[in-house]
């Protein structure tokens, strides 16, 4: 909110004071926590066969989004707007106009759903010989819903959050697949730590139940096909199962939180990002090693929550990095929630903050041996995100002492 504030000399401590989760495992922190610890999964192998997706667990949308606003949104916006509302509830900010009107927002987003039936009909008509010069123009002018564009524009998730929840300080939307989520938290943290902002809503959403997205990732043979396997067991059949998820966090300066009596769930201590030159073998492992060094992680016992995709070669390169930290308990968010692309890093941070606030790391997601039990209460969790094609990032989430 306060760009004008003089740059502070000492970085301000940044707390996570709210978490909103609406995923394939359910809505809210309790439902997700219980599902994680009971080994529950929500995998659809049939609806998009041979592709596998993690479908969104249905919610009562009206609890967070007025009906007339829902009609203006496509699913990816409803998922995100819903999760954003949960985060504001969790932080005790819902309806607090004074704070919401100056709250900053950074959203990591892709684009919205295409109208598959319109696209298919136009392509069929063209194949049937409709190829006059104005054919495509005529069909688009008559078949596209006028407001569909607004449900597709990347920055309109933020726009919908502003409209539905009144988050009206500043609004920025970062794009660029997985690492957009890392950059969103990196910038939000830097702004608060540097005195340029007091409080921010940061996160993303993804609708994985979209054939137009399957097309994009199938171009690169990235989709997991035929049979679900945990991320660590996909080496011979690499790929990701798209997941539907909304994940938002409220980041807040410690003084701002204390002044309004808000309790911290955890502290966001550091977020770092880079872009490995992936044409060189080993570049991702090297980049992740360097990012780790920049975090000031204490020795074990600690935990790592990774958004590893299951795509190759990046997942094997990340495994090589994880091998350097074998004493850390690892959890893959991709196994449990699928790959929610721009939202995956926010999801990882949400799970880290949730684990710290509950004094336990959630249960391992498979029997690969990579995900081991953790008996102690985690005080430091490293969140890792290496994009399926580009971009690497890491964050350190810590208990507030």
């Amino acid at each position: 909110m306060s760009e004008t504030t003089a740059v502070t000399n000492e970085p301000v401590e940044v707390w996570i004071t709210g978490i909103g989760l609406a995923t394939s495992l359910g809505e809210g922190l309790d439902a997700n926590w219980e599902a994680l610890n009971s080994g529950q999964m929500n995998v659809d192998e049939q609806g998009f066969a041979p592709y596998i997706v993690h479908p969104w667990a249905k919610v009562n949308l009206e609890a967070q989004i007025p009906k007339k606003e829902q009609r203006q949104m496509e699913a990816w916006q409803r998922i995100g707007t819903y999760a954003a509302g949960l985060a504001l509830d969790s932080a005790g900010l819902k309806g607090n106009k004074d704070i919401l009107s100056r709250m900053d927002m950074i959203v990591a987003a892709g684009g919205g759903e295409r109208d598959i039936s319109v696209d298919t009909a136009i392509l069929n008509a063209e194949a049937q010989g409709n190829c006059t010069p104005g054919f495509l123009n005529d069909r688009l002018m008559s078949d596209l819903r006028p407001t569909l564009f607004l449900a597709q524009l990347s920055n309109l998730l933020a726009g919908n959050i502003a409209i539905s929840h009144g988050v009206c300080g500043t609004s920025r939307t970062f794009m660029g697949e997985e690492v957009a989520g890392v950059d969103a938290f990196k910038i939000a943290l830097a702004r608060i730590a540097g005195g340029q902002s007091d409080i921010a809503l940061v996160g993303g959403s993804h609708n994985g139940e979209r054939k137009d997205l399957l097309v994009l990732y199938e171009f690169g043979d990235y989709n997991l096909k035929n049979e679900f396997k945990p991320v660590w067991a996909r080496k011979d059949h690499p790929g990701f199962a798209l997941g539907s998820a909304g994940a938002f966090l409220v980041l807040e300066s410690k003084p701002h939180a204390e002044a309004r009596g808000a309790k911290p769930l955890a502290r966001l201590s550091k977020v770092v990002a880079d872009r490995a030159r992936r044409k060189e073998a080993g570049a991702v492992t090297g980049t992740l090693d360097r990012l780790w060094s920049a975090l000031d992680v204490q020795e074990a016992p600690g935990a790592i929550i990774t958004g590893a995709t299951g795509a190759e070669p990046v997942t094997s390169e990340e495994r090589a990095f994880l091998d350097h930290h074998k004493s850390f308990a690892v959890r893959s968010s991709g196994t449990r929630f699928g790959h929610s692309m721009e939202a995956q890093f926010a999801l990882g941070l949400a799970l880290a903050a949730l684990s710290i606030s509950r004094g336990a790391l959630f249960a391992p997601g498979d029997s690969s041996g990579i995900e081991t039990d953790m008996k102690e209460a985690p005080t430091q969790i490293v969140v890792v995100g290496a994009g399926h094609y580009r971009g690497e990032g890491m964050a350190l989430v810590e208990a507030v002492k």
Partner: protein, 424 residues
């Protein structure tokens, strides 16, 4: 001279600029045509215009991209603008720019020629979307994966120019270019970096891009003659004209620029940003978010309204935008409003959407350099409800020390920049 502003923050200066618009490539060509009041708007020849309500745009036709994609064109335009900006700044070495990249870029998606290619790959005359999906894999279309990732343009710029760290691709709709600059300013003020590359690019004139804005009734339909379509602040304005282009700025801390003997082209003295939650495409009727945005920019620059002596308006020429921009500006500037010459570059170059904030910041800095304000062309029937001192039809010589450049976009995005010639 102090190297810090009055809030104790590093002063952020501009040491390199690059620009491409429908008028041409480069600062010198663009400036010559802008002050001559030339229009870059023309009838579209890139694709058939049969059946369209709007048939003109500010396309950049002199940059060949084959096969054409909008994302491919925005990448090319981005390269051209960045190359010019870095060359002028004379910073780093070839392929080794010593700072981060903040890139404003349009949302990316697979385009119609590629969709048609898939349909032809399927063959036949009766197929489903699943049939399309079946032919996507196997490597034949692997380049389309890379092409249509949202991060692809930033990836390419980062590879070529060697920017540091994770490049950020962003969209705040029509305010995107201003947001890219704002992110660079904030990073330098935080002391994270001495230099940042802030770029913005737009290549979206394709059939669906045009139809989308057309269906929202946002575009001018005054197709003939195309050069007269964009009429900011005129009574008979009827919408904006889509356009392509790119702008790039090298931002540096004043200290770093002076230390390496760089020529300082101007100062980004202040940035303001405030979200409007009234409606997805319309401004709050009371103008409060625009008013708040402008006030935040003034506060951030530590300036009084009277210190602004030119406004490079958002001025899209939609009935709604121009009215609301006047409502907002006049509420902040009061009696001073009529004393500020106001102009909209969009009358000539059209609305470069994601790039507009950067393109217009560069034109604002050129205005400061030349002490000459480019005109708002097609200003023949002034809107009597908009009492700006519009620089109509002919460039005007003026003493300009401080420019405000406004950007307002769909989704309630408002951003204002304050640019000066010299550090305050």
């Amino acid at each position: 001279m102090s190297a810090r502003d009055k809030f104790g923050r590093p002063i952020v200066v501009v040491t390199g600029m690059g620009i491409v618009t429908s008028l041409g490539a480069g600062k010198s060509d663009n400036w010559k045509k802008l002050v001559a009041g030339e229009s870059g708007i023309r009838t579209i020849t890139r694709f058939p215009i049969d059946g369209l309500k709007t048939t003109m745009a500010g396309t950049v036709d002199f940059v060949p991209v084959a096969p054409f994609t909008s994302t491919g064109l925005s990448e090319r335009l981005g390269h051209m603008a960045v190359e010019e900006a870095i060359a002028q700044a004379g910073i780093g070495s070839k392929g080794d720019f010593p700072g981060p990249l903040f890139l404003a870029v349009a949302p990316v998606e697979i385009e119609w020629p590629q969709r048609l290619e898939l349909a032809h790959e399927v063959g036949g005359t009766q197929f489903t979307y699943d049939d399309l999906l079946k032919v996507c894999g196997g490597g034949k279309f692997v380049n389309y994966h890379h092409r249509f990732l949202f991060g692809s343009v930033a990836d390419s710029l980062s590879d070529t120019f060697g920017t540091k760290g994770s490049p950020i691709s962003l969209s705040t709709a029509c305010a995107s270019g201003a947001t890219a600059i704002q992110l660079g300013v904030e990073a330098i003020r935080r002391g994270e970096t001495d230099v940042a590359l802030c770029a913005a690019t737009e290549g979206s004139v394709n059939p669906e891009g045009l139809v989308r804005f057309s269906l929202l009734s946002a575009l001018s339909t005054q197709n003939d003659p195309p050069q007269a379509a964009s009429k900011p602040f005129s009574k008979n304005r009827d919408g904006f004209v889509m356009a392509e282009g790119a702008g790039a700025l090298v931002l540096e801390s004043y200290d770093a620029a002076v230390a390496r003997g760089a020529k300082i082209l101007g100062v980004v003295a202040g940035c303001g940003e405030l979200t409007d939650s009234f409606h997805r495409t319309r401004s709050s009727p009371d103008g409060k978010p625009i008013i708040g945005c402008i006030r935040k920019a003034l506060a951030d620059a530590g300036m009084a309204p009277e210190q602004i002596d030119h406004i490079n308006a958002h001025g899209t020429a939609t009935p709604e935008n121009d009215k609301m921009e006047y409502v907002g500006v006049s509420a902040v500037f009061g009696e001073h409003t009529g004393k500020i010459p106001v102009s909209s570059n969009k009358s000539m170059v059209g609305h470069t959407i994601s790039a507009a904030g950067a393109v217009e910041a560069i034109i604002s800095l050129l205005t400061l350099e030349h002490q000459l304000i480019p005109p708002t062309i097609n200003y023949d029937i002034p809107d009597p409800a908009i009492l700006f001192d519009v620089v109509g039809n002919k460039a005007r010589e003026a003493r300009v020390t401080t420019v405000m450049s406004n950007s307002f976009g769909f989704g309630g995005q408002n951003a204002s920049l304050i640019l000066t010639r010299e550090p305050a």
